[in-house]
């Protein structure tokens, strides 16, 4: 009788069932911890967008490269809208509806900062921006998805890239953009493209527990294998002495 057929004898079914159950339970508990790890990191990223704003100048100057640690950082600044310079960025979802970001530059000193004023379903009817104001919004790195503008003549862009905007203005541009926290009437608040990075150790306990559970699943399999070997061939199992 072959080893595999011997193990299929009904008197062994109980053992096999226990191992399968142990594998399922350990795998499931590991997944549960793994999801907990992901969720807590996402929650921390959301929390970081709700910290008190810092002055824009403390995060980035007009000619600075984008400061990686300030992705999604709330910033405040004072500036003046550049009137009549609205552009729309296409392909932006909000509540599962495809629409546009309404982007206008704000003049801060000698430089322009692209500001996402809000989200709209169509390119018609965005209220014009004008005047000087104090702003609060979230700092975001410029995009560069390589999307091709199928009609460079209009005011609709496929992405918020500083190089694309630079062709429209003579002034210096910031290497960043800001999503406005309080959109003007008629516009919805635009969703942040890039949330702040969660700390490397955030919820690391959950991740380590996940691996632990999967390890115990493997251990159950190992015990089963040793048991099967001893059960089928006690002499050989005892003889190898390990």
């Amino acid at each position: 009788m072959s080893a595999a057929r011997a193990l299929l004898a009904p008197r062994y079914w109980g053992y096999h069932l226990v191992v399968v159950a142990a594998l399922v339970v350990a795998g499931w508990l590991g997944l549960w911890q793994y999801h907990g790890w992901q969720e807590r990191r996402a929650a921390e990223a959301r929390d970081l967008t709700e910290v008190a704003p810092i002055a824009l100048a403390d995060a980035i100057g007009p000619d600075d490269p984008f400061p990686g640690q300030y992705v999604g950082q709330p910033v405040s600044f004072e500036g003046a809208w550049v009137t009549g310079a609205t552009v729309y960025v296409s392909g932006r979802e909000h509540d599962s509806v495809d629409g546009y970001w309404v982007v206008d530059p704000v003049r801060i000193g000698q430089s322009l900062l692209p500001v996402v004023r809000g989200w709209t379903a169509s390119t018609a009817g965005a209220p014009p921006a004008s005047g000087t104001a104090d702003f609060v919004g979230w700092l975001q790195p410029p995009e560069g998805t390589g999307a091709v503008d199928d009609d460079p003549g209009d005011d609709v862009l496929p992405q918020l890239r500083v190089a694309d905007l630079a062709q429209r203005f003579d002034e210096d541009l910031y290497g960043a953009y800001v999503v406005l926290r309080d959109p003007p009437p008629g516009l919805e608040q635009a969703d942040l493209d890039q949330l702040p990075p969660a700390g490397r150790l955030t919820a690391v306990r959950n991740l380590l527990y996940a691996f632990e559970w999967w390890f115990f699943g493997l251990f159950a399999l190992f015990v089963w294998w040793r048991w099967a070997r001893e059960e089928l061939d006690p002499a050989a199992a005892a003889g190898d002495g390990r």
């Binding site: 380590l208 632990e212 390890f215 251990f219 040793r226």
Partner: protein, 111 residues
Amino acid sequence: MSRLFTSYRVLAFVVGVLLAFCSLVALPLKYLATEGGDLQRFGESASIMWVAHGWVFMIYVVITFLLSRRAGWSAPFTVLTLAAGLIPLIIFWVERRVVAKVRAEHPELAG
């Protein structure tokens, strides 16, 4: 002295100390000490030791199982030694029983 037996004793001791610290020091401080106080915060940060216990326990389980096969323990005794790593303080007593058992039945393992 066989490496397996020595490893078992060291791991049992480390698991026992970590488990005692986590369950008898960190846990009560975290939940029973005054909220926000120094002791309570210490209990909370010390809870990270549970992870250390978990990972050392994984190694303990494998080594103990291998020792159990080598020494030919019964299934209940094997399960008892494995589970001892999860019950505070019990593991110190179980470790002494294991040492006595191995010395009596398999002196070649105990050296």
